[in-house]
Symmetry: C2
Subunit: 467 residues, 2 copies
């Protein structure tokens, strides 16, 4: 299956062959995390924890089940999720007194408790996050990691004294996103979503979109300014220095296993997946190239190399299976290990190893001395190159058009001028048979005319077909 | 609230005051993991991962929801859990075609997939584990960590070629339990449960019980031999070397957040909780004892100590709050930090720090040189002492009786002789108003008479009131 010929088939196939998940679970949209895929996900979770811990967030874990009355408190929010929630109605054979829904996101689970946790200005800012599964009864076609019904999810929730405090958090969230994206080698576009596509209940939403090889975009994150939209129905107030009660202003940041989907889709090739060094379950695989009469010596040397790299903190695997080296190369390329080390008699004689990069298949002979430092450098180079290549690809997909007529059969991401009116936005979406991703952040102002109504406008919007 | 006066009240209270969870979530038996409690739980999870990874298990993650027909496949199993499961019946406003239950445990989610994963003897043993929440509609009184309805859960599942292979795994599971118990400072009794109290569907079960200060026991783990009881209904078979199809034999190992409950209950005192060094979110807290005109110097030195200990891999916190040292001591004792370091002018002059153990409040002056190694030694000593003290306490609760008449108003764990017949076992349970925990592992054979029927018997059984 060639990626360039049928991206969708290739994507489904490569996930199976690399062993990232098992799709044979008998409930639609719910897949099994296999050992390899789960390790990858846990390493991404670790990145989340590192970033959010060091920016002053505390990890918590709230219950899965939300009582119906609590779920219904914020009107826009419930409208957005009502059709997607799973309801628990019975325990054993008995009906429950009050129905419980499986969280589709945790605002309505957390905010009644924020009301208890926030009392005075000294409690602010309150910044928490959790890594949990959320459940959404998706009606669109499901696809591993990209659109599933049980979603491995990251969500941060913050409370601030006022709108500006929440705005500062929005900026920090964008900075966190940028650092994560570099580690995950995922270039993206941040865009303020149009009113009609913001998160249910938000004041405004910034969507984080990556460009897929198919020409569509995939939203891989959402950063939301809630203002006091939730604080009011959930009565989250604090006493300020002067003794007045005010509502807090809130933000959230959501990401999910879609990051795995984006990594597979963007970096994979016909040889398999290609994992960013920061989250690859194995960063290095060592393959012994055995020669007659030298087996033991070579295997021993491979063991030493493994121990050296492991001692340096690298995730390394020595493949000692009784199998031809070529077959092992094939396996580990499929699984996307960033760097392969081959070690045979000739290498031993030269006191060196052969290193082969997964991304560009470049080979280099590395002297054994201080090997770990050299390997670390190559892994950093792979990280940079993966990001750069994907960034160039994404930029190559961004086009600019000046009239409605050019919107037919679009592929990739189009920059258009838009006056900001919903009527014009909807018209653009309809003509393009695509979505208005919104106004890019940071904004680049330039005078031009709305392609729908012709009115002078400084606003630029992005249009793309989305997953 | 004194632990010795009202254990139950003390337990509920100390959890609140130490900030291990928030019980104000509006669904009964579902609590909120606060940052401190969650860190503790995640560190226990890390111990699980270390132990099970290095014994050849792979971590996976299966879906939460189990279709009704799949859940009903093993008859004993469903009987055991039928009244306890939560049922999802609707998505949005629409009824589901097939009801889905929230896993109360994952046999019926995993085994249809094991059927696909196991084909030949080369696939065996298959050893996996997962750390997930399970849901049980408990009808008994709920209690934080000890009896909740959303349970943070560990479960390993293994498949073997034959009964002996599974028996070897049972032994390994007991070894893993022993290593975990040392780290968690939780002495325990392993006992083969009587037939009528084994895990639903198991061939036999080993319960892991800890003795609580109240005189009751708390089951903190379960190790189960399934034989081919599940392999048959779920059709998990493999082709052996000779080309014959056989059913696999299986084991499981379950543990949960009850470990947190046991740690709090066993080690806590009137001053608060007392956490084992291996899983304490902070192993060391540093409290500056400021003196006039020396503030800056002392704070700087405290920072250096923190950095040194952190560099050695210790979890350390410098408490720089503007507050009297005594109040800080009180706080961190309540939260159970194993070691406190005080650092004031006098200590600086002597190039030393004062170290105070949480468990026995022993103070020692430690010269600054090579401080990290000294701190590590003290933490190891605390670990050993916590385990020993609890072990002595548990053994003090084990008594021996020779007749049914002595079974009235029992407290602690009683050793009795029992012929092994259900009739006699039930009689003992009834007379004692307590449970037969089962036959201890390893078994200690000694000739005597069943206290119920008087028949000669080598069997010893343990009796206790349980949570």
């Amino acid at each position: 299956m060639k990626k360039s010929e049928d991206f969708s088939e290739w994507y489904n196939d490569v996930i199976d062959r690399a062993g990232l998940c098992d799709k044979r679970y008998p409930v639609k949209g719910m897949n099994i995390w296999t050992p390899y895929g789960w390790k990858l996900m846990l390493l991404i979770d670790r990145l989340f924890r590192e970033e959010f811990d060091r920016t002053g967030h505390s990890e918590v874990c709230f219950p899965l089940l939300i009582p119906e009355d609590q779920f219904a408190k914020e009107k826009e929010h419930i409208k957005g999720f009502d059709e997607q929630v799973y309801w628990v109605t019975h325990a054993g054979a008995n009906p429950l007194d009050i129905k419980l829904c499986l969280r589709p996101t945790s605002e309505t689970a957390i905010y009644p408790i924020f009301k208890l946790w926030v009392r005075s200005h000294a409690d602010l800012p309150l910044k928490i996050y959790q890594i949990v599964d959320v459940f959404r009864y998706e009606t669109k076609q499901t696809r591993a990691f990209m659109r599933v019904r049980e979603i491995h999810f990251f969500e941060s929730h913050t409370c601030h004294a006022d709108f500006n405090g929440a705005e500062d958090q929005m900026k920090q969230n964008l900075e966190i996103m940028e650092r994560l994206a570099r580690k995950l080698c995922l270039p993206y576009i941040a865009a303020i979503r149009p009113e009609w596509d913001k998160f249910a209940g938000a004041h405004y939403s910034i969507g984080i979109d990556s460009a897929m090889p198919s020409g569509r975009t995939l939203q891989i994150g959402g950063i939301h300014q809630y203002k006091d939209n939730f604080a009011k129905p959930f009565e989250i107030t604090y006493e300020d220095e002067k003794g007045n009660q005010s509502h807090v202003h809130q933000t959230t940041f959501g990401m999910s296993e879609r990051l795995v989907g984006a990594i597979v889709a963007i970096h994979g090739d016909d040889g398999g997946v290609m994992l960013p060094p920061a989250v690859a379950p194995f960063q290095v695989v060592i393959v012994p190239v055995l020669a007659k009469g030298q087996q033991e010596k070579i295997e021993e040397e491979c063991g030493k190399v493994r121990d050296e790299l492991a001692a340096a903190g690298l995730r390394v695997h020595l493949d000692s299976r009784d199998m031809r080296p070529g077959n092992k190369y094939y396996d580990w390329e499929l699984k996307g290990v960033p760097l392969r080390i081959e070690l045979g008699k000739k290498d031993m004689d030269e006191d060196a190893v052969m290193a082969v990069r997964r991304d560009n298949r470049e080979k280099s002979k590395l002297p054994r001395k201080e090997l770990a430092a050299k390997v670390e450098n190559i892994l950093l180079a792979i990280e940079t190159d993966l990001y750069r290549r994907a960034d160039a690809e994404m930029n190559g997909k961004i086009g600019e058009i000046g009239s409605l007529a050019e919107l037919k059969n679009i592929s990739g991401i189009l920059r258009v001028h838009w006056c900001g009116l919903e009527e014009c936005g909807r018209k653009i979406e309809q003509e393009a048979d695509a979505s208005l991703l919104g106004t890019p952040v940071p904004e680049r102002n330039e005078k031009s005319k709305c392609i729908a109504c012709g009115k002078e406008s400084e606003k630029v919007a992005l249009v793309a077909r989305t997953y």
